[in-house]
């Protein structure tokens, strides 16, 4: 029996989920009992590929495809995708999830090409001032300053291809706030 601690997006607590092979008088039958918290749910599983197949819970049939990546399970079930943290694994890896929305840097919100950089290290800027313009496929996007501040470092070049999440410009917003 294997036990997993899974945390659905938005859930307060992880849930313990385990699968036990059910006693069965038929060979080759993928019959299990799933334990979710306190509940026990008999389930039959037919696999059609790695991470894919269908579940039968009672007489109800559910199709699934699962991708496991970076401590998350992306579960497609009957037409909707649910993303679930595999808590134990995430811990083992030391929580590699990227933090979101830093205000001390300009981050590429999409993978793309740097079109224009309006500032140099040491420049001061006002809130909402356009700092960098990037382009991806048919779309152009202006990245503006979150607040007033000073440019600490420019970490990209015009024409450079930048992956999603790349820090393009490091900002000094605290000092700028003090200075203004």
């Amino acid at each position: 029996m294997q036990k997993f601690r899974l945390q659905p997006a938005g859930a307060a607590e992880p849930v313990a989920v385990s699968l036990e092979r059910a006693d069965s008088d038929r060979d080759q039958r993928d019959a299990y009992v799933a334990r979710i918290g306190e509940a026990s749910i008999p389930v039959e599983v037919e696999r059609t590929g790695p991470g894919a197949g269908w579940l039968k819970v009672g007489s109800k049939v559910h199709r699934y495809h699962v991708l496991i990546r970076d401590g998350e399970a992306h579960v497609w079930l009957d037409g909707a995708i649910h993303i679930i943290d595999v808590v134990d694994r995430t811990r083992r890896r030391g929580g590699s999830a990227a933090t979101v929305g830093p205000v001390d840097r300009i981050v590429a919100p999409m993978p793309g090409t740097v079109l224009k950089i309006n500032v140099s290290p040491g420049d001061t800027f006002d809130a909402h001032q356009p700092l960098v313009i990037i382009e991806s496929m048919k779309m152009e996007m202006t990245l503006s300053a979150p607040t007033a501040g000073t440019v600490k470092d420019v970490r990209c070049k015009v024409g450079e291809l930048v992956p999603l999440g790349t820090v393009l410009v490091a900002l000094d917003v605290a000092e700028a706030d003090d200075a203004s």
Partner: protein, 505 residues
């Protein structure tokens, strides 16, 4: 008949064109950039030649490289698909010069339609209604323009003469914003298209985007192939297209069709093209532009008219007469297409990149999927993030939408974020189902990006946790088998794990 045709494109359109060419017994030649070395469109070809480089500018836009390949390998004709070189008159001319047939309209047609101001004038003369506006004549004089804008009536739209895809376009609601917006639009147009010319148009409220497929041959025959309603757009890009339009009466359809044919004739149109109109709420329609290519959304026309447009393109390029007359074109039933994009509908439709770990498109009666990817494909920043088009036919609009809903529910993509659930929510919207749509629909209505994000969404079913546990358990087993590879080398992450997405080509 051509013996060998090169497809100067990639993705789903290259795959789709290859099917028809191979059916016709033509040898199909593919070209591919470095990132596309393992792309589906290469596998659909009989021969394939690399284009060194990664970006579109280094590869699929390099007409010189492509013509060189065509010349040294006995290619008779080039099909440009859409985008890239498809509307480039210099490329069309270079093909002719190299003795290679360009499957599409000739350079003169492209030039006559490529500049929106010129096209508008030509068509106005031909009696096609155009959006009231100022053509840019008389030069860039701030006061004169302000007068023109006043005459047109606010809100007005500033547009780039050589533009497209929404670039260099600005809505101006009052005179005080006019000068600034003009300046900005000119700058943007200059940088994007190398041409700062802009013009003014009346901004229509809640207009519909209605386009007519047109087709001409070199014997002077021109027909329209009825309309496509493409009003559902995000970032000025269509994502849902259907035919017939719920907005057109038989009379209006007839008048718009005649205007489309008049427009095509005015520019001596040959091969496949599209005349785009805006339709306002009062039922008045205005010419917008002519696209001199096979459109992304051509499958809905193929579904209701049942002619293979690529086959017709080839025949016309060979100098044959159109394989249909206007009278033979009688559309039947209803067809709808949605574009499956790698993008995050929750964050302003930002493109999403990565490896497609799982790709299972739906299939079934009256369902067509034009795919450019397969399991294991990389979605890169280099090209458009459209993965596939899902097209459904039904006897009625309602039946087509029921089919589309089920097909979206069965379209599995894992590994990159897509707009599948967004589209599924969109087509559930009562205004959409009622056919009450316009180009601002998505700004007006808030559509949830995921099924779970809907107001009435039920809590996450236990089956999701069970499925996750089943996969983790299977994964664990494969880990212990694979030994030294650790769980990074999970089965569920192997890009090559499944059957490829062979299509009919």
């Amino acid at each position: 008949m051509f013996k060998k045709v090169l497809i100067a494109n990639r993705g789903e359109i290259a795959v789709r064109v290859a099917q028809t060419l191979r059916e016709m017994g033509i040898i199909v030649v593919a070209v591919y950039s470095q990132p596309d070395r393992a792309a589906v469109h290469v596998a659909c070809a009989d021969e394939a030649y690399p284009l060194e480089g990664e970006t579109a500018a280094e590869t699929y836009l390099r007409g010189d490289k492509i013509i060189a390949i065509a010349k040294s390998h006995g290619v008779d004709a080039i099909h440009p698909g859409y985008g890239f070189l498809s509307e480039n008159p210099e490329f069309a001319e270079a093909c002719v010069k190299a003795g290679i047939t360009f499957i599409g309209p000739n350079a003169d047609v492209m030039r006559a339609t490529g500049n929106k101001i010129v096209a508008k004038k030509t068509l106005e003369k031909a009696g096609v209604p155009v959006v009231p506006g100022w053509s840019g004549e008389g030069g860039f004089d701030a006061k004169g323009i302000a007068n023109e804008a006043k005459k047109i009536g606010y809100p007005v739209l500033v547009k780039a003469a050589s533009g497209g895809g929404g670039k260099g376009m600005r809505v101006v609601t009052s005179e005080k914003d006019l000068a600034g917006s003009l300046e900005a639009a000119r700058r943007e147009a200059k940088s994007a298209f190398g041409d700062a010319t802009v013009f003014l148009e009346k901004f229509l409220e809640r207009p519909r985007h209605i386009e007519f497929q047109i087709f001409g041959d070199s014997h002077g025959n021109v027909v329209h192939m009825f309309e496509r309603e493409c009003s559902i757009q995000r970032r000025h890009q269509k994502i849902v297209e259907e035919t017939p339009s719920p907005a057109l009466s038989d009379d209006l359809r007839k008048r718009m069709g005649e205007a489309a044919v008049a427009a095509a004739k005015a520019v001596n149109y040959t091969n496949a093209g599209t005349v785009e109109f805006l339709l306002d709420e009062s039922g008045k329609f205005y010419f917008l532009e002519i696209n001199t290519r096979l459109q992304v959304e051509h499958p809905v026309t193929e579904m209701t008219l049942r002619y293979d447009l690529v086959r017709a393109q080839v025949l016309v390029a060979l100098g044959e007469s159109l394989p249909f007359t206007q009278d033979e074109l009688t559309p039947d039933g209803h067809a709808v297409e949605v574009r499956i994009y790698a993008e995050d509908s929750a964050s302003g439709f930002l493109p999403s990149t990565g490896t497609i770990a799982c790709y299972v498109p739906p299939a079934g009666v009256n369902i067509r999927v034009d795919s450019g990817v397969k399991q294991g494909s990389e979605v890169t920043v280099f090209y458009d993030p459209m993965l596939a088009k899902l097209i459904c036919f039904g006897r009625t609009r309602g039946e087509a939408m029921e089919r589309l809903a089920l097909a979206l529910d069965n379209f599995v993509v894992l590994g990159v974020t897509t707009n599948i659930e967004f589209l599924r929510n969109l087509i559930d919207h009562p205004d959409f189902l009622a056919g009450d749509i316009h180009t601002g629909f998505l700004e007006e209505h808030s559509i949830a990006a995921t099924r779970a994000g809907r107001d009435e969404a039920p809590p996450m079913p236990d089956e999701v946790l069970i499925a996750a546990a089943v996969a983790l358990r299977e994964n664990g087993r494969s880990v212990s088998r694979a030994g030294q590879h650790g769980h990074a080398a999970t089965l569920t992450d192997a890009p090559w794990r499944s059957a490829d997405a062979w299509r009919g080509a």
